[in-house]
Structure formats: C-alpha cells, structure tokens
Amino acid sequence: MIENTGILLSIIMAIPMLGVMFASLAKDGLGQTTKGRNVLSVGIFTILSNLIVLWITARKINVNGTNLQLVEKFKWLETPNIELVFGIDFFSLLLIAAIHFAVLLGMIGVRNNPYRQKTLIISSLLFLSMITGYLLAADIFSFYIFFEATLLPLFMLVGIFGDIRKQDILYRFFLYNLLGAMLLFTALCILFDTENVSISEISRVSLNRHIEIFVWGAIFVAFLSRIPIWPFHYWISSVNVNISNPLVFIIANIMPLTGVYGLIRFFPLTAPDILDPYLLALKIISITTMVVISLIGFSNRDIQYKLFSYMTVYYILYLLGALLPTDALLGNIGFSLFAYLIVISAIEIMISHLEKEKQCTKVGDCGILCNIKRSSFVLSFFILAAVGLPLSSLFLNNMLIFAGLLSYNIKMAAFILVAIILSSISLLHHLFYLKYPQDDTIESKDICVSDISMPVFCVFILFMLILIASFINPLWFME
C-alpha cells in the first residue's frame, strides 16, 4: 500500500453522512417554495458534491497502480489491536462513481414521489456512505464493518418502500444476509487472531486445515449471501422485484455488488489448494444460478424480474471473471461495471415511470411507449446498451471478460453465454412489448400517457453521453 496522509477518502465517506444530517434537518413539506423536494435537493447536491471529490481523487491516483493509494489509517482499538485502514485503487473508484451515478439517477426517478421522501433520502444517503466505506476499506475489520452496515439502510428501505405483503420473505432476506455477515465476522476474527494481515494477504495466513476450510467456507458463504445465488435466489428476487420505488430498487440491486466486490478483494491471485473445492462449488452454483435465473426471467412476464435476472447474470459473470487466475481483467470488470450500473439504473427509472403511467391508462403497458417518444428513445438506448451493443464500455470490456472465461474453460463459458443471451433477449422482448401495442383492438392513439419531462430527458441524454464516452474511452473523465 502506498501511504499518504490525505483526507480525501474520509471526505468521500463523510459527505453522504453530512447529507444525512442536512436531510434530517431539512423540511420536507409540500410547500410552494420547495415543491416538496427540499430533502431531495439535499440528496442530489450531496451526490454531486461527492462526485466532484471523486473526480479530484481520480486525478490524484495512478490509474495503472495495482496497490491501494491515498491510504488513510485510524487506530481504533488497542486490545485487540485494530487499525482501520482505507485506500483506493482505480477499480474501487470506478465502482464508487458508478454507484453515485446510479443513486443520483434513482433520486431523479423519485422526484415526483412525496411518499416518505425524507426517510427515503436519508436511508439512501446512509447506504451510500456505508457502501462507499465498504469499497474504500483496506483492512479486514473496516471491510466487515461496512459490509454489515450496508444491510440496515437496505432493510429499512425495502421494508418501507417494498411490498408489505412479502414481509416474511423480507425477514428471510435479512437473516440470510445477516448470517453471511456473521460468518464473515467469525472468519475474520479467526484470521485476525492468527495474524493481523491486510485483505490481499489473507491466503498467506497459515491456519490449521480444518479452520482454514471453515474460514474460506465462511468467506465464500458470506459474499455469496449477497448475490442471489441458486437455490437461495428466491428471497432476494421476491424482495427485489416487488419494489416499485426506483431508488430503492436500484439500491437493493447494488447489494450483490458488495458480494462480488468482497470476493474480488478476498480471493487471492494464486489460490491455495484448499480453495479448489470451494471454487468448483462456486462455479457449479454460479453457472446453475445463471442458467436457472435467466430461464426464469425469460419465461417471466414481469419486467422487474427480467431486469433482476439480467442483473444477476451479469453480477455472476463479473464474479467469475474476477475469480480467474489473473488480475489483468480487473480494470475491464471495473469499466464494465461502471456502465452496467448506470444502464440498469436508467432502465429501472424508465420502467418505474411507465409503471406509474400504466395506472393512468386502461390498456395496460403493452405498447405504452408508442406515443411517448422521449421515453421510448431513452429506454431503447439503455436496453440496447444493456444487451451489449456498442453504446457503452460494457461492449468491449465484456469481450475481454468473455475472453478470459473462454480461455479458462470453454464449456463453462458456453453456459454463461447462453444465460447472458437469454437474459438479454428477455429485456429486448419486453422493450418490444412496451413499444408496440399487440392487441389489434387497441389503437395507438388510445394510449395517452405522459412522457418524461424535458429536464429529465436532458439528464438521460447526459447519461447517454457518459456511456458513449465510456465506450470511446473508459478513462474519459481523466483527460
């Protein structure tokens, strides 16, 4: 790690917390002056401020550096001797920026939704702060602290803005995640008590074989608990697909990223023998999950499920890409994830808009886009980008990830590719469903719904430009 005494990372983590403070003090009434968007403005301002700080950070770090940079250390406990360490590399910077963009899009998506907006924004900013801390964590304890701390804001958001009828599933979802967090905690305590090492050096710690099996098993289970992995995907899928609030949906679907990121950080480049059975199991489970979820998404009529299946398949793709015995792909995964998070957030915002508009028309959502050109254009663009056409950094960077997987095991890669094709076609299929009325009795003029407003359209155009810029040069913001 390259040591530095800056405070940029602390600022990045603190800004959302400051946002939480300001948001909790802001009035959220539906007054004339604020139009009920006071808290929302605080949220948006917070994210924009943090994006500026992130940009400054990006200018300060070495893009090609493999070590963590701008390291900040805090002595937390003496007995046991725990030091919290934060650092950043280009991969985590990309993820943090993408999450900020995604949450920003989510906030734009809820601008007209006054229902408990204060709670929504506060919890979202809290989540943002926690996940930012998670992505900056460089030692095992801060890693765990933020890993578990992301759970609560998510639970609150899903509980308040999700489907109240599925509380039982929500409990399971939380407990399942908590179980993972507890296992991680135990594993980390064992590691810590044996030797206090940084995350990247965990595989170096020599443990009793049984304990080592447990420790790695716990780490795997902990991170996999965040990803809707088969056969436990049901809880996460049931919770996620019933969220109508776009910001909450986006946040809920950022959660698997914590699992993927955790495994990326923990998994050693040269895996010890002890990991072989876990890796094998992980691969089998991952591929089964991809195929099963993509098939279910393909046969499901609910666009939220389709989107969920698409996201899951891609998350697992990134995970498998990251677990290959090379770190050359990490940058590509970062660039791809950057575009991916923006794309899915934008799609979700549009879907949520259409879902709301659907309530206003009696003809359902089939062909709902046919008279709203802006929405149609935006959704088409993002879905085409999502399926991998050359509109974002997904396109070429995914190619390299596929290359890695194909070179590793072509049969495994074939299954992965089938799953990706299925989930992408599901999205495309729904795009057509939304674009064209299929019932001959319905005239397109009968479908009278509101389009997105011009300012929002401009925001989407801005994000499209960002995506295209990321395709032309993923380091667009550095030059």
């Binding site: 003496e78 509980g159 509380q167 810590f192 008590d193």
Partner: protein, 473 residues
C-alpha cells in the same frame, strides 16, 4: 478506628437517605411524586461522590473497595440516577405515589453496594437476597391482587433459591467456621480436604445468584415479572440489579471459590447455551414488548455467561463490555417505552405501536439504533460487545459456542425484525401522545454515548480493563 470505617460513608449516606425518606413520608402530608425522587437523587448523588472518593478504602475484613467494585457501584449509581429521573415522568403523569419505588431503589442501591464490596459470604447473601427480594416485591406495586397472576409461584421459587443460597453459605460456615472469602479460598485450595459438601454449597450459592440473574433454566420468573410490573419497576429490575449480580458473582468466584471453579464451567456453559436459545425463542413467541426484551435480555445474559467462563482477565473484560453495551441499549429502549404512550397509557403490546414511526420518528429511529446495537451490527456500540466476546471465544478456540451464539442471534433478530416491521412498515392505527422532553434528552445522551464510544473506544476499553483486573489482585 474511624479511619477503618470511613469507607462506609457512601452506604451510610444511602441509609440516611432511607431514613430521611421515611421521616418525610411520616411528617409531610402533601408529598408529590417529585418529593421522593428529589430525596433519592440527592442521596444517590452524594453516595456516588463518596464512592468515588473512597474508591480504595476498606472496612476491616468485611468490605474491600477497589477499582473493580467502584466501577460497578458507579454504574449502579449512574443508571439508578437516570432511571429514577425517567420514572418520575411516569409517577407525575399518573399522579401516583412514588415513595415505595424510590425507597426500594435507594434500599437496593445500598444492598448492592454492600454486596459488591464485601468479602464476606454472609453479607453477600444478605445484600443480594434483600436486594432481590425488594425487587420481587416491587413487582406488586400499584397492582391489584387479581392482576398478580402467578406472582405467588415466583415468590415461592425465589424464596426457595434464597434458601438454597443461605444453605450454601451455611454449609461453608459449618465446615470452615468463617464467612470470609479469603479463609474459604484457603480451605478450598487444599485439595486433600475437599469434600462433596463444598461442591454442594458452591452449587447452591451459584444457583442462587444465577436465579437472581434469571439465567436459564432459572429464568422462568423474569419475563412475567417484567411484563406485569409497572414501567419504572420493569425497567429497574431489567437494567440495574444485573450489574450487582455480575460483580458479586465475579468477586466471590475469584476471591473465594476459584480453586473449585473448574468443574462448574460446564454448568455455566450449559446454562449460557440454554439462555441464548430460550431467550431467542422466547422473544419470538411474545407480542408484549417488555417480554420480548426480557427474553432478549436472557440471550445477552447467556452470552455474557458464556464469555465469562472460564474466568480470566480477557474473558472478564469481554463479558463486561458485552454486558455494559447491552445494558446501555436496554436503558435506551426502556427510555423509549416512556415515549410510547397513547391517551396517557404506556403501550406494551406490539399491535399498539403500529406505524409509530410516522408520528414519532425520532423515538423510532432511536429504537432502531438501540436494536441494531443489540444485534451487534457495526458501526454501533453493540458491535464492540460482539467483537470482544466473539474474539475472546475464538482466542479460546470455542468455535461451537461461537456457532451457537450466532445461530441464536439469527433467531433473536427475527423478533427484532417484527418490531421494526410494526414500527416502520405498518400503517398507524392510533394517535400517540406528546413525548416528554426529558425522554428525548435521556435518549439523545444514550445515542451520543453509543455513537461516540464506537468512534473511539480504545479509552473505554483500556480504562475498563485496568479497573476490572483489580478484582484479581
């Protein structure tokens, strides 16, 4: 001569307070609930100050004060002080007499203070038994006989266990001719002279203390007692006595029974495991808020017991940290119970607080923070407790216990989730009363404590360790 007894000043002040309170009750006719609170506050304050001043003064062979005892006594003073203040809100709002409560509180403080410091089995027995019995009797406060369903049974069992405690003390006196810890320890240290009666007496004393702590399987009285009692009493018996029982148990074990402790560790482990599972399942089986937290308290007591044994300085620190963290959170939760009122009634059923977050958001956020702290989720103080306990168990290679704690925690969290659901996710079906500012102040102090302590816990951990290890000297 006087110097030998100077350390008794705090206890003497409390005793004076009791007399003063009694006199005022007899003499003054127009007493308000605040009158007795003011008296108890005054004497508690001075008692605390004197305790701090004479933190290392002894009274012959009877009372040994050191950092360990002072720590627990001060905690009892502080929490009693806070709880006394909050309880006043209840007595004032209902305009009910407060003498019984504050008198008992003062008396209990006196008993616990003596019991913590003592190195004499008889005084220990008297201090704890009287304190416990006073608590049991407090449950009847403001209750009609028909409302005290099952109380007789608990009283009978309580009497039985106090009797067992007394028998244990008696057996030791019979064979060692002394109540002094040191003398008993010296006797027990000679392995050739160990007879089964010592083991029996030790078991009886431990069972007595564990019963008072309501450790499973001797827990059956606690939840119903807390559920039936009025809020000040329920809060008091949940929060304060546990410090005294814990301190006394550690003190007596370390200074008197240490030579024969080994064989009993497995009992502690079994009791601990029972407690965590019964606590977790019990919390899920209830719809009464206080009972839910009473059972969850059982879980925390269980973890504390598991962490404490086999006793050593590391385990003591981790068990204490865990205990402190959970009591702080419980104190916060009971403070919130003072805020959950509708039409003047304190709400105790889950269904009563549906959607309260929409009308009382700050209270509900506080409840959430305390529950999250109890779960041990970072970055709240509860995490520190969890860290210290799990870490100490892992150091001791007790992986099975860690597994049991985590599984039981998952079951317990399910109960917490139900509370969060009711408070946040369900629609409100009633209007909630305005909350007293005092409740907010106490709650805020508690939250700040939870937040600040976690940001920089090294001082807390370091100083606490230094104070706790004094018991071994």
């Amino acid at each position: 001569m006087l110097n030998d007894y100077i350390a008794l000043i705090p206890e003497l002040i409390l005793f004076l307070g009791l007399i003063c309170m009694r006199l005022i009750k007899l003499v003054r006719k127009n007493n308000t609930p605040k009158t007795f609170y003011t008296i108890s506050r005054l004497f508690l304050f001075f008692g605390a100050v004197m305790t701090a001043i004479f933190y290392n003064q002894n009274v012959g062979d009877y009372l040994y004060n050191n950092l360990f005892t002072t720590l627990f006594k001060m905690l009892i003073y502080i929490f009693t002080f806070i709880w006394g203040y909050l309880s006043l809100k209840r007595f004032t709002s209902k305009n009910m007499p407060s003498f019984t409560f504050y008198n008992a509180v003062l008396f209990n403080t006196l008993c616990f203070s003596v019991a913590i410091s003592t190195h004499n089995l008889l005084i220990l027995f008297l201090g704890l038994s009287l304190g416990f019995w006073t608590g049991i009797n407090l449950i009847k406060m403001e209750k009609e006989p028909h409302e005290l369903n099952g109380n007789g049974v608990y009283s009978a069992f309580s009497f039985l266990f106090i009797l067992a405690f007394a028998c244990g003390v008696g057996i030791f006196y019979y064979y060692t001719k002394s109540f002094n810890y040191g003398a008993i320890e010296r006797t027990l240290a000679i392995k050739n002279l160990l007879i089964w009666q010592y083991y029996l007496a030790f078991s009886l004393i431990m069972c007595g203390i564990l019963y008072m702590m309501s450790v499973a399987p001797f827990h059956f009285w606690f939840a119903n007692a807390v559920g039936n009692a009025i809020l000040p009493v329920a809060g008091y018996i949940t929060i304060i006595p546990i410090f005294a029982y814990f301190a006394c148990m550690v003190n007596v074990i370390v200074n008197a029974f240490y030579p024969i402790l080994g064989w009993f560790n497995i009992t502690f482990m079994c009791f601990g495991i029972f407690s965590i599972f019964i606590g977790a399942i019990g919390a899920n089986s209830e719809s009464n808020l206080r009972k839910i937290f009473a059972y969850s308290g059982l879980y925390y007591i269980g973890v504390t017991i598991l962490a404490l044994f086999p006793i050593n300085d590391n385990n003591l620190v981790s068990a204490f940290i865990y205990l402190l963290v959970y009591i702080v959170a419980f104190c916060g939760i009971y403070t919130i119970f003072y805020g959950y009122r509708s039409r003047g009634d304190y709400l105790i059923e889950l269904d009563d607080i549906k959607g309260v977050a929409t009308q009382r958001p700050f209270l509900s956020v506080a409840l959430l923070i305390f529950m999250i702290s109890l779960i041990g989720t970072p970055p709240l103080l509860g995490f520190l407790g969890k860290l210290s306990v799990i870490n100490s168990m892992i150091v001791g290679k007790e992986f099975v216990l860690v597994g049991a704690i985590l599984v039981a925690m998952l079951i317990l969290v399910y109960a917490y989730l139900k509370i969060i659901t009711v408070v946040y996710f369900e629609a409100r079906n009633k209007s909630f009363d305005e909350v007293d500012k005092g409740v907010y102040i106490c709650m805020l102090i508690n939250i700040i404590l939870i937040l600040i302590a976690i940001i920089n816990p090294k001082y807390l951990m370091h100083d606490v360790e230094m104070m706790l290890v004094a018991v071994f000297k």
